[in-house]
Symmetry: none
Subunit: 400 residues, 2 copies
């Protein structure tokens, strides 16, 4: 990707401030001829659309439905197809597990072992409280092996995250999971030189689990998959010379933001807390990523009306951003989540940009279809970052 | 190109069905202010435009006029700049020559040899019937060399296709053609290891031709260029998990489709036979490429009115596609062929997509200029395939 080279060369530190408001899963599909966004009363967003210029963005490229990880990376200017983000690390970020450079993490399941075979890969979907008890038991009872720290973090039902801390771990490891019931447990195997030590530590851990949980009725073994090290991704400070802040209340988004160098503030579940935090730390940063989740959650659940309400809820907070007078304000989404599809989709994101140097277009309503007619056109999300930096006066000229 | 990796990873087999109708050379330029498509009465295409969403596509990128081979490859999701398609293989496909894995093919000219020099590279443009006679004579009289089969297939006037069948042939061969009259015949030369055997076989063949045709008055030698093996291109089954069918009545399009794994049905010259075939094989496939040639032929001939009529002819068959209720219907073109330019052009193609998950736009008339205002925007043809697969529910999410 050429952008990261250009970014290092051209970006300059300035006092101007950028706010990127991500309304997660914003784009939708029509129910009675109107999408969620077309149905919602959004006087503030519409007013911004009239003042600014609009377009639509593809997180990866046309037709590709992205997960939240790749979709956010693109918005922050990282090519999602060339930025490694293992499943283990995403799960760890999503569970608020602290991951340091060199740590190896994996997604885990508690499972039921019977007569040497995995009888149930999910241990009968034990309750979350049971999972928490088992993780605590293992964290206390696992044998101590010098130079190695293993910690388990309970997730929902039978799920957990395992973190291995030791020197010289690699993550070229096969899944330690037979994938089907009725098969014997499968140890992990190093797929490349440099991961043998990690394989040995993981396999010793799996044996320890079976010993410690021998008397448990349902959950007496562990399966692990998606081994990943903390990836080394260039930091936003280094790429863009920004002092970036993440204002989000879901662990995954905070974790991802931390991974690329943002300071992630603790934020409660109420939407107004996003803006309290934004105001409280306004002086300390020059880039603010504000993440609003409820639109996506409603879309995932297929609740059209709830998504409309969530859009109206976030619209009401727009004046609090405007009052701070950011030099650049972008309102967009990471990906679309049409309530009619009950999941992420490949449809492009509405995109709205306000800045003194923006050429206003004729978009007078902030909707998918109006943005598709906007003067910014249709572009890949990865260009959002150069566009924001440029309008904030943070990019020098390329060449003479 | 990252798409082929993503396609393998994300595509899933489903029962949904896609129809891609290619109206060859559809885009045009105005005569009395209206293009061919704007002049034509197209009630069905206009109705589809109203229901679906539209855009325009560049086969390669802006300004590049493509041949039919690269333009079609792009529509099928193959990067035309990184998919090898030698001239020899295209000529062979266009002549309906059967080409197997390992066969070496080349474009040939009959030429006139005088006093050891090529006096006329086209042998006075001998009539096609004469070319057919010469090919038959050579096929019968060429000396048999063990382990090698050579066959000639007559084309128009002085042109033919030569096919060499033997084990271990390479295609890194220079053209056996001095390119200018008045020069001596030029043997081919292996440009890389692995093509020496092919060079020897080709040069022996060229000597044989001179011996067999020694008494011919005009055509007494052969020139060969564009040597190519059957390329190994990933198959659509493997890339997209599709069971694809090609419904086309010109050899080039059927041959190209076969090269990437489509089943190509025999179809007669009448336009209604395209749709008879589509209906007859509807249950057997989940991707149907339907190719209509007359628009391009009229454009190539510079016959504006004939192209208008051809567009109206294909429009009348749209209801037969609709009656089959495909999950995704795309109507577009491989490239533009404005009658005013009497040839392929670099102008983008009108593109129209109908699917339950498509967000309808305001395009109410299917024309070049209306599509250019459509919500799909302007994009490279290579994204048509991910877009069709996505709308057909045949692509999983990328990343978590």
């Amino acid at each position: 990707m050429e952008w990261d080279h250009l970014a290092r060369e051209l970006s300059v530190q300035t006092d101007s401030k950028i706010v990127l408001l991500v309304i997660d899963g914003l784009g939708g599909l029509p129910w009675n001829d109107k999408t969620e966004l077309e149905t919602a009363e959004t006087q503030h967003l519409d007013r911004l659309a009239l003042r600014g210029c609009c377009g639509v963005t593809d997180p990866i490229f046309m037709g590709i439905t992205p997960g939240s990880g790749p979709a956010h990376l693109a918005l922050f200017g990282y090519d999602p197809l060339h930025t490694p983000l293992g499943r283990g690390i995403l799960e760890a970020l999503g569970s608020d597990v602290e991951v340091r450079q060199g740590d190896l993490v994996a997604r885990g399941n508690f499972a039921t072992l019977q007569n040497g075979r995995i009888a149930d890969r999910r241990a009968g979907r034990i309750p979350t409280a049971e999972c928490e008890r088992l993780c605590a038991k293992l964290n206390a009872a696992l044998p101590v092996r010098p130079g190695t720290e293993v910690a388990l973090f309970a997730g929902k039902e039978h799920r957990f995250v395992a973190r291995f801390r030791a020197a010289g771990l690699g993550d070229a490891l096969t899944d330690a999971d037979p994938q089907k019931d009725g098969l014997p447990p499968l140890p992990t195997r190093a797929e490349a030189a440099g991961s043998e030590k990690a394989a040995a530590i993981v396999n010793a851990f799996l044996d320890d689990v079976v010993r410690v949980l021998a008397e448990e009725p349902a959950a007496n073994a562990a399966l692990l998959r998606g081994f990943s090290l903390q990836p080394t991704i260039p930091q936003m400070q280094e790429l863009y010379k920004l002092r970036p802040a993440a204002i989000a209340n879901y662990p995954m988004y905070k974790g991802l933001a931390r991974l690329i160098g943002m300071k992630a503030y603790p934020v409660g579940a109420e939407t107004r807390e996003l803006f309290d935090t934004l105001e409280a730390h306004w002086a300390e940063h020059d880039f603010f990523y504000v993440h609003f989740k409820r639109t996506d959650s409603a879309g995932e659940d297929g609740r059209f009306e709830a998504k409309v309400k969530a859009i109206e809820e976030i619209d009401a907070f727009i004046p609090r951003i405007e009052a701070l007078k950011p030099d650049v304000l972008v309102v967009t989404s990471d990906h679309s989540t049409p309530a009619l599809m009950k999941g992420h989709s490949f449809h492009p994101n509405p995109f709205l940009l306000i800045a003194a140097s923006a050429l206003p277009d004729n978009t007078g309503v902030f909707t998918e279809r109006d943005c598709a007619q906007g003067n910014l056109g249709r572009f890949r999300s990865i260009y959002a970052m150069p566009l924001m930096l440029a309008h904030a006066g943070k990019l020098k000229k390329y060449g003479a």
